[in-house]
Each structure stands twice: as C-alpha cells, then as structure tokens.
C-alpha cells in the first residue's frame, strides 16, 4: 500500500510541528534492541534480564534529560492517553481537595479533553503572543478546590515558551500539583531544570523517536493514584507490557538530538527568523503568530487573509512542500485551531511550519520563492486578490 520511499521523501518536509521523522540513531537502536532486548522484562531468564537492564538504563537516561530520578520515569504511549493518565491520576489522588483542573487556553487538545473529562475545567487566557496571564494563572490555581493544573513548556503550534517556572512557583505556593507538558520542548531546549513540576509529560514522536512511546515522570511524593487497575508493570503506573525495543529507540533518539541540540537549534532558530521576516515582507496581509524570540527553535505559524487553509496546504503540497495548517477543514476538524483563536490570531489561511533537523537554507529559500505566488493565485481564484 505504501509507495516507494523515494516518492514519499520528495517533498521538502516542513511539518515537524507535531512530529519529527525518526532519526537514524533511533532506527539503529531499535534494530539492535529487537535482536537482543526482545525479552519480557518481568521474566528471570536471560532474555528477560537483558530487557530489564535495558529498561533500567533507559529510565536513567531519560531521568538525566528531565532532571528526575530514574524511578520517577514511566514509559507510556502517545500524548492523549498519557495526558489522561496524568490528569485522572492527580484528580483521583486529590479528590478530597476538590475537582477543579486549571489549564491554559492553548494546551494541546488532548490535555484540554482530559481536563474537561476528569474535573471542572478552568482555563486561563493568553496574550497575543500565546503567553499566559501570570496573575490570572496565580489567581486560578490559588482558588478553592483546585486538584491540579496543567501547562505547556512551549506551545505546539506557535512555539511560544510559557513562564513555566513562575507558573510552577505559583502552584507550589498554592499547594497544587502541576502537570508540565514538555512535549514540544524535550530535545529542543535544555529540560534538565524546568522548575517545580509534579508530573512531566513528553512524547518520543515529537523529537524523532518512535510515535508509540511517551513519557510520564511522576515526582516522588506526588499524590498521583493509578486511574486504572494497577498491574505489575512499571510499578502499576502504566498498564501492560513495555515494548522495550521501542523504549530503547526512544531514548536513543533523545540522546542523539540532545547531543547536537544547541547547534541544530541555533540553525533552526535562524531559519525560522528568516522565514518569519520574509513571509511578512513578501506576502501581503499576513498575520504572524507567536513570540518571535522567546520560543522553541523550530516552529512558525502564520495566516494569510482571504485564503482557505485546505487549498493552501494542498497547493503547497503540489508545489513540493509538506506543511500543516490550523485552519478549519484543513485537518481532521471542522473547527479552527483553538490556539490561534485564543491568541486572537487569524485562523483561516493558516500555515504551520516545523523545520526539521536537516532543513537547509536552500529549502527555506525555495519555500519563500513559491509561497507568495501560491497565496496570490488562491486569492485570485476566490475573488479577493
């Protein structure tokens, strides 16, 4: 059913906002681990012991990256079930305190869904750049009956970094556990000291590991209770057998991207600066979203007036560029991006770019050469040129 690899790889891939293609180190690690680490880590025989050792080593390596203890690291699945477990587990552990769940208005939809499902959801607004109102955040988490709060390190659409340390401090002062969603930050910025979080979330697919592996790091002493029947795997904090080769691959990816993080991140930061400047200069009537400076290195979101996101995405694909869009009808949703709407940004004609680890200046230039004509042509077709 899949075409040949060469056909898939032809477009210039600028869609690393939600996930980075698997890095070579992750592929190699997986191949090694399926040969030597395939055993059930619960077993006492040699294959089992090898797998158990690999899992212990993987926990230690992740712990070092996020500033935690190895026994605090839980390997989970994609972000949605991981966020559900984090939120539901804290809501359960804190049910005597109350059931209010405070989040920013621009958390990932999986986090917002979990907050609405497991508590009384209170959202804190953001400014035009996507940054939370710290006073409103402090008021919200200090209110009565707050079970937990959730905040991203960086937004997954516009890249803006939140004042996560100050937000965590407000939670600490109020005695409220904070779920810090580091999905967009891990492997992109230094995550070894992200402040006073209680539960940290991550996903390997975001930084070039396998999409099946997520992270939930639960600090010792956090009142988190398993919201599902606990079993013998991972101390009852995530049910079911661990896919050790996938975990090994996820950790290899994290080590690999962390090793050259500053070099790659610096290059990506410059490429996004250039994209931001040139898109604004070359495309009339464009709304650039997010913080131009205080952001993760690889993301840029902008919207062109009088263009629909679906046509724009398809025309860019035809021209050889793979991009994402937060416009309604351009993804799987009938509704526009809640992130853009909460920021007061234009939601139609939206393009979300995530430059990859290997994106070159020539590729960025090629995109910038094509984009104005594509936008102009669509505007003309819609009678808006």
């Amino acid at each position: 059913m899949f075409p040949r690899v060469a056909e898939v790889m032809t477009p210039i891939f600028l869609d690393c906002s939600s996930g980075e293609p698997l890095v070579p180190e992750a592929r190699e690690a997986w191949l090694v681990a399926v040969s030597a680490g395939w055993g059930d880590p619960q077993r006492l025989h040699r294959p089992g012991r090898l797998a158990a050792q690999a899992l212990d080593a993987a926990r230690s390596r992740v712990a070092a990256h996020v500033g935690a203890r190895p026994d605090e690291v839980v390997f989970t699945g994609p972000l949605a079930p991981t966020a559900q477990a984090a939120v539901a587990g804290l809501a359960l552990g804190r049910r005597r305190v109350g059931d209010v769940v405070v989040t920013s208005a621009i958390e990932h939809s999986a986090v917002l869904a979990a907050a609405a499902a497991y508590g009384q959801h209170v959202t804190v607004g953001v400014d035009r750049l996507g940054r939370i109102d710290l006073d409103a955040w402090t008021d919200a988490v200090s209110g009565p009956g707050v079970a937990l709060a959730c905040l991203q390190v960086a937004n997954h659409e516009v890249g803006t970094l939140q004042p996560y340390e100050a937000a965590a401090e407000a939670c600490r002062a109020a005695g409220v556990p904070l779920v810090l969603d580091a999905t967009t930050a891990i492997g992109r910025i230094d995550t070894a000291n992200l402040g006073g979080w209680s539960v940290l979330l991550g996903w390997a697919g975001a930084y070039g590991g396998p999409a099946s592996v997520g992270l939930m790091v639960v600090r010792r002493g956090t009142r988190w209770r398993a919201p599902f029947p606990a079993d013998d795997h991972q101390q009852g904090r995530w049910p079911g057998t661990v896919d050790v080769p996938a975990v090994w691959s996820a950790v290899a990816a994290l080590d690999a991207v962390s090793k050259d993080r500053d070099v790659v991140g610096g290059r990506q930061h410059s490429l996004v600066d250039r994209l931001r400047r040139e898109v604004g200069a070359r495309v009339p009537e464009v709304d650039l979203a997010g913080d131009p400076v205080v952001r993760v290195p690889h993301l840029l979101t902008f919207s062109a007036l009088y263009v629909d996101g679906e046509t724009l995405t398809l025309e860019l694909d035809r021209a050889g560029f793979a991009v994402a869009s937060g416009s309604a009808c351009s993804a799987s949703s009938e509704h526009p991006s809640h992130v853009l709407a909460a920021m007061g940004a234009l939601t139609h004609g939206n393009v979300r770019l995530g430059v990859s680890r290997t994106t070159t200046e020539a590729e960025v230039d090629a995109f910038l050469a094509v984009l104005p004509g594509v936008v102009h042509e669509i505007r003309g077709r819609l009678g808006a040129a």
């Binding site: 709304d287 007036l305 263009v307 629909d308 309604a328 709407a341 940004a345 939601t347 139609h348």
Partner: protein, 81 residues
C-alpha cells in the same frame, strides 16, 4: 480590538448575509463591500461558520476597523478607514 454589546439599533448601513458560507468567504465578502459604506458607517454581518468569531476580530485588527459586537451568528463592524 474593542468589543461591546451596546449596538446602535437601526444605524446599520449595510447588511451582509453570509449564512451557510464557509470561512474565509464571509471575511472576503466584508472586505469587498466595506468600501460602499461611509467612514463611521456600520456593517452587519450574518455568518455561522465557527471561524468567523476569531477571524472577524483578527481582520478588524489587521485592517484597522472596529468590531462593535460579536455574537455569532450576528456581527457588527464599524468602518474606521
């Protein structure tokens, strides 16, 4: 962008019915037609696409127009430029 709910009752200079049209069509329509009302004039936009609420506010900000009220499916915009 300022938004308030005190609507001048009968002062609408132009009414655009974009009900049933998908975004960005309602925004394209108001952009095409705003020139026919005088500066200071009021335009009523009827639109039920869910993107209209954020996008009309963003359009007013980008184009220097005033969003007088926003209560889907009825929106009021004052021409300022």
């Amino acid at each position: 962008v300022s938004a308030s709910t005190d609507e001048p009752g009968d002062a609408v200079d132009l009414s655009l019915d974009c009900t049933g049209l998908r975004c960005p069509r309602p925004i394209i329509e108001i952009a095409r037609r705003i020139g026919v009302v005088p500066v200071g004039g009021l335009i009523e936009l009827l639109a039920d696409d869910p993107a209209t609420t954020p996008d009309l506010a963003a359009w007013c900000r980008m184009r220097g127009q005033e969003l007088v009220s926003s209560a889907a499916p009825r929106f009021l915009v004052r021409r300022l430029v």
